[in-house]
């Protein structure tokens, strides 16, 4: 709807100063665009890094737990002939 509105009334869209200057080949506009792109990418990078670290820490913790337990799960008593009496 916003896009339709902007296409139908381009002069209204020019009300945004950054959008207006972004249309030209101005170095200030390029600087604003670059800054906007940088700031847009940063949250994804930060959240991605945090999630990535959590996944890494989880895997490392699981691997450590496995190595401390001896690597193999405990055998259930029922599966041992000596223990199940048969």
């Amino acid at each position: 709807m916003v896009l339709c509105g902007a296409l139908m009334a381009p002069a209204t869209a020019h009300a945004c100063a950054v959008c207006l200057t972004g249309a030209g080949n101005d170095s200030v506009a390029d600087a604003f665009n670059l800054s906007v792109l940088f700031l847009m990418a940063t949250p994804y990078t930060v959240v991605g890094a945090i999630v990535g670290w959590l996944v890494y820490a989880n895997r490392r913790s699981a691997a450590k737990a496995k190595s401390e337990d001896g690597g193999e799960p405990l055998a259930s008593l029922a599966s041992l002939q000596k223990e199940n009496g048969r």
Partner: protein
């Protein structure tokens, strides 16, 4: 139904075929044992991670402002403004990066159970951080002497804001490091329990990792 049940009991008493798995009472074998959940980190660790995310966003805002003025200017640094000391700050960068190495050595030491080495490594880190701040302070004094102040130009304003906030973070990290050092000296940390040291290492690593980015942007770009 009764017949089926009898048949099952008879079948159970029959000798098991070689290789067949025997179970109590027939039916499905018991579920494999479940390992208890193991936390990947303490609450303090998670909180520090979130705090560092917020810190990263704060510096991203400052860097965004720097990009607007730097890319938007045809001539940078502006005329009649002093040039920043690239060489000495490069040496300072190496010092700060090396402090992260010693900080991680302290963490490795506590994990290995060498608690005596922890306080030594923390002391070395604190000295390196202090040297970094001293060199920064000397550099600032020189720049102010040459006329570069916060209000002298956008160039000065950006420089002191970006580099100043980083220096403030290093100073804060240094105070935190001093507290952790006191705790390490009093034998507070062990191989199993060293969360305080771990989160301090995280913060120090963040402060150190941020500096080469700022150095590249403000001094070299």
């Amino acid at each position: 139904m009764a017949r089926n049940s009898t048949a099952r009991r008879l079948d159970e008493t029959a000798p098991a075929a070689p290789g067949k798995r025997l179970e109590f009472g027939g039916g499905e074998p018991p579920a494999p044992p479940v390992r208890p959940n193991r936390p990947i980190g303490s609450n303090a660790w998670l909180a520090t991670l979130m705090f560092l995310g917020a810190e990263a966003m704060f510096f991203a805002g400052l860097i965004g402002a720097f990009i607007v003025f730097r890319v938007g200017s045809a001539i940078w640094p502006p005329p009649f403004q002093p040039r920043l000391p690239v060489g000495i700050t490069g040496v300072n960068t190496v010092i700060l990066v090396f402090s992260a190495v010693t900080m991680h050595a302290a963490l490795r030491s506590v994990r290995a159970g060498a608690t005596a080495r922890v306080s030594r490594m923390l002391a070395v880190t604190a000295v390196l951080g202090g040297v970094f701040l001293l060199i920064q302070g000397y550099e600032w004094a020189q720049l102010i002497h040459f006329g570069l102040t916060v209000s002298s130009s956008v160039y000065g304003g950006l420089f002191y804001t970006l580099i100043g906030f980083h220096a403030l973070h290093v100073a804060g990290a240094l105070i935190w490091l001093a507290l952790v050092f006191i705790q390490a000296k009093s034998g507070r940390f062990s191989k199993q329990q060293h969360t305080g040291l771990r989160i301090c290492v995280m913060y120090w690593t963040f402060v150190v990792a941020l500096w080469p980015i700022l150095y590249g942007l403000v001094y070299l770009y």
